[in-house]
Amino acid sequence: MTASARQALRLSGISKSYGNVRALSNLSFDVPEGRFFVLFGPSSVGKTTALRTIAGLVPTDSGRLEIFGSDMTTAPIAGRGVSMVFQSFALYPHLTVYENFAYPLREEKVAREEIDRRVKETAAMLKLTPRLERKPGTLSGGEQQRVALGRSLIRRPKILLLDEPLTNLDAKLRHDMRAELKRLHRQLGMTIVYATPDELEALSMGEEIAVMRDGAVVQRGTPDELYEQPLDTYVAGKIGSPHMNMIKATVSADMASFETPLGKLKTSRKVKTGTAGEAALLGIRPSDLKIAAKGEHAIASTIHLIEPLGDVTVVSVDAGGETLRMVLPEASATAMKPGDALPVAIDTTKIHIFRAASGQAMT
């Protein structure tokens, strides 16, 4: 990730509508060369359309698309140097794995021996060598996913677009594939634009994440930036699992403490833009809630629901009429029962403050 990297991709003001439905609304972002860039947002937010626009599968209504500096807004698909992995994998069902791999190379008129060499190399890299003569329909989901990946990688595209490639895999495979993809990216060094609705995928793989809403980017930044400084409640709610607890509050006159149902909370910083008495929302991540140690300032609460997730347990507690989720290590939650009282401590240094009206972060 060098600062001087060229821009592999630049979208400026791209809009696209299907009939009355606006898929992309003045979408702009750029991706430096070699970056693992994630488009994150819930379904039907325009991620797929954005990727298809980059690939050239969807003509834009307005705006400009540059790939490595040249205008590609209306260029044919073939010359863009972009390849794509579809959510549905979109393997050629009538061709063997070998032929699926070879297809893009044949289209590029690569010599037969070279095709063979690269197919075998790719198959080896993706551990698909024993499957080369099989048809996609006979492969497991994970294998199909790897074939789709291999087919996109084999012609060494400058930009690789991945459209929710892990959605159709089962839970365990999804976890394993994240690290695999990350390794591949590091190994091959290409620019990747990855669309996903799964924040874990976004956070764990993305070097940079653009959070999308209604066809536009609402915030972009590194995983840390998004986690630590969400610009609004939308981003705050989407990034981090379990979701951030939101507590209604009123800004006090000192601009640093807030009236909440849990009592008065004093944050470690002052808000500069707010006014006293303004309605605010305090965002507290479940992991920033702790069982209060003895003597620590604690909020009294009652356990409402216990969800063991294996390594950790999500415990929902009722406090002052608000429900708060907190994440506890498995071991420390085993003895808990719903109805038990639990003293909770809040790490006030990590409270996020939003305007109740607009949802924007208060600085």
Binding site: P59, A75, I77
Partner: protein, 353 residues
């Protein structure tokens, strides 16, 4: 569906360009009119054809330059259908307003006379009406028989079992027979002296059995032969529907303790309904055209004349071309009304509860 590249602007009206279809139409029309006036029909036909080709070519080039792939893809089919179906249909529509006999090439405009004759002339209209009623009867009986038999056959083959493939082809074979051969053989099967049917019936009842000497028997004989030949068609479509019912629906029904009858109506039937309707549509269209079996089995005797055979006699044997055209247009009108009604019903049913 990608057409990201900018499309070239269409050429101005008077530019001489291969994609200027507007100009091509103008030129084509002008040349055609002049040719039709100056040359005999056999020559002007080709000139008009060439002009049509010119216009078509201009359209194609235009479509190609501007990437109207849809139009390009559909064009050959439309061209063939136009030349071989739509054009002849329009031609015969035109003919139906003339008095024209093909063996005697005089032609005279008579307006709606052919239609009026077909509908009101006491001899012609009665024959037409009679043939129409018979046709309706055959449509109802043959289609009903085919649907029922085809459906039952499909039920037989709905499950996978050993040798299914081989038994299925046996049942499909009647559809592959030439109507001439199977029809002629049915006259044999029904023959009171030589035929198997009368032989068996005679041995059972001890009395002479003549199937085709009354209307009921004649209709039954024709319906049986037709149903025998075409039930496999219905079967194939229904079978396709049956095997498409997901097995888990039946499992769910078993868990939900749904009765067999209700299972059929709420699970099986909705799945085959579409294909059943398709089969019904195609077979109804074909049944409307029933002629060959009637010709072979009864020659229209015992009051089995169908509209299609009636038309063959009028238009072909008697060479009353334009009169036949008028009758067939009346018939087409009816078929279209019926089909639309059918499609309307089909759609309403699949959309309603």
């Amino acid at each position: 569906m990608s057409s990201t590249t900018a499309t070239a602007a269409p050429p101005a009206l008077m530019t001489l360009a291969p994609d200027n279809w507007k100009l091509a139409i103008l030129v084509g029309l002008a040349v055609s009119v002049i040719a039709a006036i100056t040359f005999p029909a056999s020559v002007s036909f080709w000139i008009v054809g060439a002009m049509a080709a010119l216009v078509a070519a201009a359209f194609v080039v235009n479509a190609f330059r501007r990437k109207y792939y849809g139009g390009l893809l559909v064009a050959p089919a439309i061209a063939v259908l136009f030349v071989m179906n739509i054009f002849p249909l329009l031609w015969s529509l035109g003919l139906s307003f003339f008095a024209y006999q093909s063996n005697n090439q005089s032609i005279r405009f008579v307006g709606l006379n052919n239609y009026i004759k077909a509908l009101t002339n006491d001899l012609a209209a009665e024959a037409n009406w009679n043939a129409l009623v018979n046709t309706a009867m055959f449509v109802v009986f043959t289609v009903a028989a085919q649907m029922v038999v085809g459906f039952l056959l499909a039920l037989l083959f709905a499950k996978q079992f050993p040798l299914r493939k081989y038994l299925l082809i046996l049942v499909l074979t009647p559809m592959m027979l030439s109507v001439v051969a199977s029809g002629v053989f049915f006259t044999y099967y029904y023959d009171p002296t030589f035929g198997i049917l009368s032989y068996i019936m005679g041995n059972i009842t001890g009395e002479q059995f003549i199937l085709m000497d009354n209307k009921l028997g004649a209709v039954a004989g024709i319906v049986f032969a037709d149903a025998w030949m075409w039930s496999p068609f219905v079967m194939l479509l229904v079978l396709a529907g049956l095997v498409s019912v997901p097995k888990y629906l039946y499992e769910a029904a078993a868990i939900d303790r749904v009765s067999g009858w209700r299972q059929f109506w709420t699970i099986t039937f909705p799945y085959i309904r579409g294909l059943l309707m398709l089969a019904l549509l195609f077979r109804t269209i074909e049944a409307f055209k029933l002629a060959d079996l009637v010709i072979l089995l009864t020659k229209g005797g015992n009051d089995t004349m169908t509209i299609s055979y009636h038309l063959i006699r009028i238009a072909n044997e008697q060479n009353k071309t334009s009169e036949g055209a008028a009758i067939s247009y009346l018939m087409l009108f009816m078929v279209i009304v019926l089909t639309n009604l059918y499609l309307y019903l089909a759609n309403r049913r699949s959309h309603g509860a």
